[in-house]
């Protein structure tokens, strides 16, 4: 009777088990889509709200200021007694209160810590000055078309792909390996001629089998629902995704090399993934973190994968442009994998 090689047979078995596990399918395919939908909706690009300005009612200047601002499309006017406006300003419900005394001098009351308030002050001032006859000496023309790939969803989608690749590699390989050890199935394998290399390789290959599907699924979803377009080469994108998965598989093998309980390995995986979700710029740019953290953040594997995927998707980058990121991924993957295989025990 002809049989497949042990490696192929193990990969086949793992793929079957994966497909028969509804929870895994949810986490790998549906969860990132739901995240993209929710976040994409929440942060979809809308015309910016006009500044909300307050004018005190029932005093001498009320009518004048009403005439100036009520018809302007550039502001949203709220007219109320002084105390009520003050309360709204304190809560951030309006951005600036405009006052005008009998001598014709204006006061702007706003919180300079808030960017919206500073912007409101500029708009309010411009409207007021123009109303009283200011002429602009310089002619302005505005260009407001933005390049493709600059929306939040364009930023988010590659991040979700990277997060998904990291999660499925760490959970799929790390958790799976430890579960087989805790069931003593690994010990049973150890009594057969199956080699350690074949055993570990079967995990990695079965993970890679789903890679193309995962990436294609998210890219397709982004294109259909949010009109996200891959600017660069899709083949290169897949290669980078492949390198990313191999890198995180190295971490998974390391986490699972000797761990006997699924609780412990869950702890390891969470300790790795949660900080990187935040630091590596999955949901927002890591440039916002303090300067001292930047060198650390940049060498994190998820940062490298995020940056490389974003560069290809949004900027159409080629291999040369993302070489440093590729080196980081390859480095982490090799080091963790080699140590993990060395530490590996069947029981």
């Amino acid at each position: 009777m002809t049989r497949k090689s042990p490696l192929l047979q193990l990969v086949h078995a793992r793929v079957l088990v994966f497909l028969r596990e509804p929870a895994t399918l949810f986490w790998v395919f549906l969860f990132p889509v739901i995240l993209a939908l929710v976040l994409g909706m929440a942060f979809r690009d809308r015309p910016p709200e006009p500044p909300r300005i307050g004018v005190v009612t029932g005093i001498a200047s009320s009518a004048t200021l009403h005439d100036i601002y009520a018809k302007s499309a550039r502001v949203h006017l709220a007219e109320a007694p002084a105390e009520e406006l003050q309360r709204k300003l304190d809560k951030g419900a309006i951005d600036v209160i405009v006052g005008l005394d009998e001598a014709g001098a204006a006061t702007y009351h706003f919180d300079p810590q808030r960017a919206e308030a500073r912007l409101a002050r500029l708009v309010v001032d411009e409207e007021l000055q123009r109303h009283y006859g200011r002429a602009d000496p310089v002619t302005i023309s505005e260009r407001t078309e933005m390049p493709r790939g600059a929306r939040y969803i364009d930023f988010l989608l590659p991040g979700l792909i990277a997060m998904n690749l990291m999660g499925s590699a760490l959970w799929g390989v790390g958790y799976g390996m430890v579960a087989e050890r805790s069931k003593k199935l690994m010990r049973r394998f150890a009594t057969t001629p199956l080699s350690r290399t074949q055993f570990i390789a079967s995990y990695i290959i079965s993970r890679l089998a789903f890679l193309a599907l995962e990436v294609a699924f998210l890219i397709g979803f982004g294109a259909l629902v949010f009109d996200v377009e891959v600017q660069g080469n899709v083949g290169l994108l897949m290669l980078v995704a492949l390198l990313g998965v191999m890198c995180f598989t190295g971490f998974a093998v390391l986490c699972a090399s000797r761990t006997a309980s699924v609780e412990v390995v869950s702890g390891f995986v969470n300790a790795l993934t949660l900080p990187m979700w935040l630091l590596s710029g999955t949901f927002f740019s890591y440039e916002r973190f303090p300067e001292v953290l930047q060198p650390i953040i940049r060498v994190l594997p998820l940062t490298a994968l995020n940056d490389a995927l974003r560069a290809i998707t949004n900027d159409g980058a080629g291999v040369a442009a993302i070489a440093p990121q590729l080196a980081i991924l390859a480095g982490w993957g090799t080091v963790t994998f080699v140590i993990g295989v060395r530490l590996f025990r069947w029981k």
């Binding site: 078995a13 088990v17 009594t191 001629p193 029981k347």
Partner: protein, 308 residues
């Protein structure tokens, strides 16, 4: 002919306990040897060293003449020739019975057809069913199928029927007997003396990391020099000396008012026992007899029962 298994001065020491304490054991090719002993006797540790799962602290193990740990090729050769059923293996629940057998088959250079194994272990009706849906007895038969799939010359079965109902136990025994009838060697651990009596050509009684008796089941029972065992309780004490003077009694033990006599023939001893009782005004409250078994041999050697 080389022995299937040869253990020499085998020791396994853990930080807190010496699990196997200088064990010598030879299992001949084609025989079934049962290692009988209570929990914690060192049976599993011994078998796992023979299977190559646990490294010995000292001593040597050869399987079909090849020493464990001498070379990677040698270890691989040993692994190819052994079929194993561990005490506790939970197979992947989302695979079917056939898929599980095929997976194990792929690990071996030579393997038996899946359909043949499924039939051998009587899982035809379940072969496309998920492993997660099998009963305890069916799982154990699947484990046996996986042990036999690589055409092994030796199978090591660690308590293959623990926790199973009598019918499932009998099915397992049938499968093992058939393997043996085809020339296979079997190393079996158990704490059921009935299982040892049923399957084993020789029985090794193990206690506290050592083999304390090793022979055929019949010879072990014969070593008690007793055919039958008489258990009784009385309302007042007998002296041991008095009991030993009764005809045909070769041994007597007492535990409070509970007595156990090893006797040649129940028919000779019982009338004398009742006579002695009425003579000294003692009432015999309960009385039972049975043929001497391996369990009695075990109690004789260790002073405690197998299930204790």
């Amino acid at each position: 002919m080389t022995a299937a298994i040869e253990c020499r001065a085998l020791v396994k020491r853990y930080p807190d306990i010496v699990a196997v304490d200088g064990l010598d054991l030879v299992v001949h090719t084609g025989e079934c040897l049962a290692v009988l002993g209570p929990n914690g006797a060192g049976k599993t540790t011994t078998v796992e060293m023979i299977e190559g799962l646990t490294a010995a602290t000292s001593g040597e193990i050869r399987v079909f003449g090849v020493a464990w740990g001498a070379s990677a090729a040698g270890d691989r050769q040993i692994r190819s020739s052994i079929g194993v059923a561990l005490q506790e293996t939970r197979f992947q629940e989302r695979l079917t019975v056939s898929e599980t057998i095929e997976l194990f088959a792929s690990f071996f250079g030579e393997s038996r057809p899946t359909a043949e194994l499924v039939a051998l272990v009587g899982l035809e009706a379940k072969q496309s069913g998920r492993v997660g849906k099998l009963s305890g007895g069916q799982l154990q038969r699947l484990a046996l199928a996986c042990a036999l799939v690589g055409k092994p010359r030796l199978v090591c079965l660690d308590e293959p029927t623990t926790g199973l109902d009598p019918q499932s136990r009998r099915q397992i025994w049938d499968i093992v007997s058939r393997f043996k009838a085809d020339g296979g060697t079997v190393l079996l651990t158990t704490h059921y003396m009935e299982e040892a009596a049923q399957l084993a050509d020789r029985v090794a009684i193990m206690n506290r990391g050592k083999i304390i008796a090793l022979d055929t089941p019949a010879a072990l029972v014969a070593s008690l020099a007793a055919e039958d065992i008489v258990d009784f309780t009385s309302d007042r004490p007998f002296t041991n000396e008095r009991l030993l003077t009764l005809p045909g009694v070769s041994g007597a033990t007492a535990d409070g008012l509970k007595y156990r006599l090893q006797v040649k023939a129940v028919a000779d001893t019982l009338p004398a026992l009742f006579a002695a009782a009425s003579e000294s005004g003692v009432h015999i409250v309960t009385l039972g007899t049975h043929q001497a078994t391996l369990e009695d041999v075990f109690v004789h050697h260790t002073g405690r029962g197998l299930q204790d």
